[in-house]
């Protein structure tokens, strides 16, 4: 891959309707890279908050005794989709990609497909 910024940039250009994207460290809740966002969508706040979403789901799975991993988490709002994709790779000790999409412009199936592709390029 080129660099973090390029990978995130590709996410926003190759996926229709992206409002913002962030690459987040899931233990600390810190955004290691962000693109897009703005006053309507503070990606640093979104990164920290969505860490709790991922943690809650991981915890529930532990309690249920599910021996499985999360691929992605989809949250559907009235006007937006929020997509969280957990990255797994050699050194990825808990990173996830967070994507906010405009519901009226986004194609969810395509977005998930593209996100998978970007993940493979990140190969962190």
């Amino acid at each position: 891959m080129a660099n973090t910024e390029a990978a995130l940039k590709e996410a926003t250009t190759s996926i229709e309707g992206v409002l913002g994207a962030a690459l987040v460290d899931y233990t600390s809740g810190m955004a290691l890279g962000t693109i897009g966002g703005g006053k309507d969508l503070d990606l640093a706040v979104a990164a920290a908050g969505n860490t709790d979403v991922v943690r809650a789901k991981v915890r529930t799975m532990e309690q249920l005794g599910l021996q499985d991993g999360i691929e992605d988490i989809l949250i559907t709002l009235g006007t937006q989709y929020h997509l969280i994709r957990l990255l797994r790779g050699r050194g990825t000790d808990g990173l996830f990609l967070y994507l906010a999409l405009d519901k009226s412009r986004a194609n969810l199936a395509m977005a998930r497909h593209q996100l998978k592709k970007i993940e493979s390029q990140l190969e962190i």
């Binding site: 973090t4 990978a7 600390s28 810190m30 290691l32 890279g33 640093a44 050699r90 000790d93 962190i124």
Partner: protein, 269 residues
């Protein structure tokens, strides 16, 4: 209580404004600046970039040494790692940002004596992805709040971590299991971070979460009375037990402290 981060704030603002190059030194770590931007940070408690890269098997130690030998004097070691084809730019950036914010947290958020700035000093690693000091400062403050919201007793941050013996039947993720396996009552969070090749702050968060979940013995800290689990974000810990019955009882001997002293004396040198 004054936030320790805010103490250095005016100095960082001034250094940003004058686009300073050099190193900001505090008791627990240092921030390296180029043109007023933070390019690197180091702290005794936080594992360095080499530890994070090599312990996970991502980079062989000899390749790290090789890059230092080739580009150390030119202060371009980071770039050399990429030129030599051992790392991609993305990997380097992500891993380095993790170490930068990790060390910056210990540098800025720990109570400290004097803060000095030495102009003109640069780090041999070389710039990778500069970060505005304001971002570093905000992130450090957020980390302080995060730790306090998880478990507001900072004693567990520096004390040896000891797992509770009766954990049978409790589901533990592999990530936490790796940490608990090293929680032998001798290793501190900082030692564990180094051995696992994880950022020290991430280890602190995990240790505090384990304390809150009852997986580790947190008697070194001040556990809240039953029914008074810490929940409010950023709540200041009260050292006084609020239950009158507890208040009236004679102070219990600090067995955790005694045990730690004994272990420290008996630890192999």
């Amino acid at each position: 209580m004054r936030n320790p981060v805010s103490v250095v704030s005016p100095m960082l603002i001034r250094l940003t404004d004058e686009r300073a190059t050099g190193v900001l030194i505090r008791d627990h770590g240092a921030l390296y600046l180029i043109d007023g931007q933070v390019v690197h940070a180091e702290a005794a408690a936080a594992p360095g970039l080499d530890v994070l890269l090599t312990s996970g098997g991502r980079l062989r130690p000899e390749h790290w040494e090789e890059a230092i030998a080739e580009a150390g004097t030119r202060c371009q070691v980071a770039r050399q790692l990429v030129i030599n084809g051992h790392l991609t730019v993305g990997e380097l950036e992500l891993c380095h940002l993790a170490t930068l914010f990790d060390a910056a947290f210990f540098t800025l958020a720990t109570r400290s004596g004097a803060t000095r700035f030495r102009y003109g000093v640069t780090h041999w690693l070389g710039p990778i992805r500069p970060v505005p000091p304001g971002t570093v400062e905000r992130e450090s403050m957020r980390r302080v709040r995060l730790l306090n919201s998880v478990w507001p007793y900072a004693e567990v941050d520096t004390a040896p971590v000891r797992r509770r013996t009766r954990l049978a039947g409790r589901v533990i993720s592999p990530h936490r299991r790796a940490l608990l396996d090293l929680a032998d009552g001798i290793r501190t969070p900082s030692t564990i971070a180094r051995e696992l090749g994880r950022p020290a702050f991430n280890t602190l968060v995990e240790v505090r979460r384990l304390a809150a979940d009852g997986f580790i013995d947190a008697s070194a800290g001040v556990p809240p009375p039953p029914g008074q689990q810490p929940s409010a974000a950023g709540a200041q810990p009260s050292k006084e037990p609020s239950d009158p019955a507890v208040k009236e009882s004679p102070p219990a001997p600090d067995s955790a402290l005694l045990r730690r002293i004994r272990e420290a004396l008996e630890a192999p040198r």
